[in-house]
Symmetry: C2
């Protein structure tokens, strides 16, 4: 079918708002008709000049900017499957992803061109296209491709056409390609457009990286509603404050760390964010004191939390402004499912658990991926029983609010009891000497698994195993207290998404043994 496709949205809107600004990017400005013309030319150039046919992948490794927006839109108009690359990827991962995705064309900006140049041979990249300003190795430029293309409306794609191949972070092994089609992306766009009330008055600032699924609502939804898209190349508090003020930004998406950095920056004054009507945060838990500070500072701002993942491209549940105002326990919730999304908490056998009981968060929605690219086994597992299994442990309360507890894989099963590592970490991290902590399950002959804590102390402080155990004794049940504690001097290993790589911490303990939960 041809209905849930992006050109049914972008093209009529570009016609309707022809002379209205679509993009502000530093000195670059484009009206809707200018943006649409560049996108149509780019789509045509991708096909003609670069030989990217419908279904072929093309990669992008670049900071945020209007070029990135154009590449997403060109892909969605039927010019291929965009493979947006995480900017933190190591050369080996990069080569793996480019090879695994069979990508022949890579768009890259000057800061990342040397990296692509280094891996292009191993990765099988045939053409490197330079995006934006700067001097760097390339075969042709983004502007060359646009100049070579004609502004013709391409044949309409089908809604089952793949359109995004996004690789997920490496906390659970090799990166996996998440293949999303027009339909999934359009349904997520509808869901968030309903939730946020998108219309042509919106001015959206891209500050989270555009390669990340959290950006997709803005990347697609804003131009489909006639709003303005604006950018900072990457998050930097001063640049964000300036951009919000200069463009009178009305909406943005941030991760909690960014919000913290913004509020504590010397240039920050609350009135500099006066234009912001909608602020969505997500991707990691928001510390309650920070959230309370934000709410107190901006009593009229529409603050939303979003929970989702690349596989759902992206939003499943949302905590809205009214719920934030209620405060209390609710601030720890990930909210309730968006219209069109069904969430269910299930045990390992697929039984639906009642409110209050913790199990795996499962969901059904039209915005889920079609498959893990070339991984039918993993795809089948992820959707077994007709539900997508998020791998997150959580519960819903009587009112349907979702509370996330832990990653299922990080849950420790000790003596038949489930211990959620996040809860133990939270108890330990309140100890004054603790800088970083990760709690993992290690093999134990008697208990199956034993709770084990890995701690990095703040510079100039120390703590002992007994002190830590004593500290948490009043805070958590006895069976949750670590049986062993290990102190390290080096920072804990982090993924590209800044999450501790517990898999790496567990690995030496489990060598030659099999964990029940893989």
């Amino acid at each position: 079918m041809k209905e849930l496709i992006y050109n049914r949205h972008l093209l009529p809107v570009a016609e309707r708002f022809a002379s209205k600004p679509a993009v502000f990017d530093g000195p670059y400005v484009a009206t809707y008709s200018e943006h649409a013309e560049r996108v149509l030319r780019l789509a045509d150039g991708l096909r003609g000049e670069l030989g990217v046919e419908r279904g072929d992948r093309f990669a992008v490794m670049a900071l945020n900017g209007h070029h990135y927006l154009e590449l997403f839109h060109a892909g969605f108009l039927g010019a291929g499957v965009i493979n947006p690359l995480n900017l933190r990827l190591a050369p080996k991962e990069l080569a793996f992803i480019l090879g695994d995705s069979e990508t022949k064309v890579c768009f890259v900006d000057a800061p990342f061109a040397p990296l692509i140049d280094r891996v292009r041979k191993e990765a099988g990249i045939e053409k490197v296209v330079l995006v934006g300003e700067g001097d760097a190795p390339h075969d042709l430029t983004h502007e060359d491709v646009i100049a070579a293309g004609k502004a013709v409306v391409p044949d309409e794609p089908e809604e089952e056409d793949a359109v995004v191949l996004m690789y997920t972070g490496g906390t659970t092994g090799l990166p996996k390609g998440v293949l999303l089609d027009q339909r999934a992306e359009m349904l997520n766009m509808y869901h968030v457009a309903v939730r946020w009330g998108l219309d042509e008055t919106f001015v959206y600032l891209h500050q989270t990286p555009m390669f990340h699924a959290a950006s997709m609502g803005g990347t697609l939804g804003i131009p489909a509603s006639g709003g303005v898209s604006t950018f900072v190349p990457m998050f930097e508090p001063k640049a964000v404050l300036d951009a919000i003020e200069q463009h009178q930004v009305t909406m943005t998406v941030m991760v909690p760390t960014m919000i913290g950095m913004l509020l504590s920056h010397p240039d920050f004054k609350p009135e500099r964010l006066a234009s912001l009507e909608v602020l969505t945060y997500g991707a990691s838990p928001m510390p309650t004191p920070l959230l309370e500070q934000l709410l107190a500072m901006f009593p009229d701002m529409g603050i939303y939390q979003g929970y989702g993942m690349t596989e759902s491209s992206a939003v499943l549940t949302s905590l809205g402004p009214e719920e934030h105002r209620k405060g209390g326990e609710l601030l720890r919730s990930a909210g309730r499912p968006l219209s069109g999304v069904v969430v269910s908490i299930q045990d390992a056998e697929g039984n639906v658990l009642p409110p209050g009981e913790t199990g795996e968060v499962c969901a059904r929605a039209g915005n889920f991926m079609r498959e893990y690219w070339k991984r039918p086994k993993e795809t089948k597992e992820a959707f077994h029983g007709g539900w997508y299994h998020t791998g997150d442990a959580g519960y819903v309360d009587e009112q349907g609010y979702l509370f996330l507890v832990d990653r299922v894989k990080d849950m420790i099963v000790t003596g038949g009891e489930n211990v959620y590592s996040a809860e133990v970490e939270s108890a330990i991290s309140s100890h004054a000497a603790v800088e970083q902590v990760a709690v993992i399950g290690i093999p134990d002959e008697r208990w199956g698994e034993a709770v084990h804590a890995v701690i990095v102390c703040k510079e100039g402080t120390t703590a002992t195993e007994d002190e830590i155990r004593e500290h948490v004794r009043d805070r958590i049940a006895g069976y949750k207290i670590p049986k062993s504690v290990e102190f390290r001097d080096e920072p804990l290993p982090l993924s590209g998404a800044m999450k501790v790589l517990k898999r790496d911490l567990r690995a030496p303990y489990w060598e030659g043994k099999e964990r029940a939960v893989q």
Copy 2:
């Protein structure tokens, strides 16, 4: 696919808002969990007690009320295809529709039970189910069906499952059944939910008849968003004013005639509508003075015009509050396409016409019907060239605003010129003596068609053919002036939707001849 289906919306919302009111209907009140339980039982009873299998039709002939809402929701949960009957149908039309749709089960309320009883044999109705209070012939009651059913969640329907069979009015021959599936209804629901910003704070008043496509946005969208549904059995100004005040209604849909009657009612005071945040009107053109009066009286109300048809279930374009505030020419516009809808103006050969040129309004959208029931030829014609042909003549301006000019079938082709009957009628109706006027094309040997006016004068007034022609001479071009004028004492024949049946007026002139535009 199973994603764009109503139970993915209603059931999780009913769980989430379990103890929140879902329905107020006079003394009847239901929370979401109560409403959902009744709907599940009704769906089960429809299948078990009444033998209505997935895909089978069941009809409803009833005034507005919670029963009607329950029947729509039960059908959408997979219990059959609802066939909502126009309450103005004559017995012959009714028998035709019930027979054509092969409907065996008919839900009816007391006021319409005698009518159904009269046609049931001819129509082949096997079971008549009485809805609501009152004494009337029936086989069993709505409450019997609910009592017989179990509150079990049925197997999920597919999104291609037919769910509504709605017969369109008779202005163009025998009524045609418009067959709509889950997907079309869900996409219209998304489109209007985005446009209106539906959420759980909405209190919606059903006052337009629930058998009409214009009600579908409210019937499906409000309960899918956690809002409150409330009802008047049928439009009556005092009842509407009371209901708005009593339930603090925030949104309703009206036709312009209703708005006029409401504002001129002796009980009307603007403050009685103070709770109304969203008022949508449509189905017929709104006289500009009435619209200006409304806008002046309610400067903060969100006033929307919607344009659409049963076949698009229902909304294609919308004129929003900001555009109403701009006033002037824009007030005559039907607005711009909703996100997800593409509109194009085409000539008879299917060429797309530029802004400003009048042609047939064509559209593409996910919310269109699957087919005219058992009429493949009409279905093919309606969608020829990949566009739905609305039969309306209109143009879009440079900003994409749609202006409707006439029904294509009512357009008169005289000496190679197109004359839009609506324009001539507008010129004639400004004559002081004119109560009703219809302008039609009649056969003419020289000009192909000639412009002919049929006029009913106001009581106690008269006019002559020459006076009418003199009156319009400064108002319209010479070729648009009626060649002949006919005065009648009887009111002009009207359709169920209160439109003049021009087909009936034309018939005697065209007997044995073929009109170019049928």
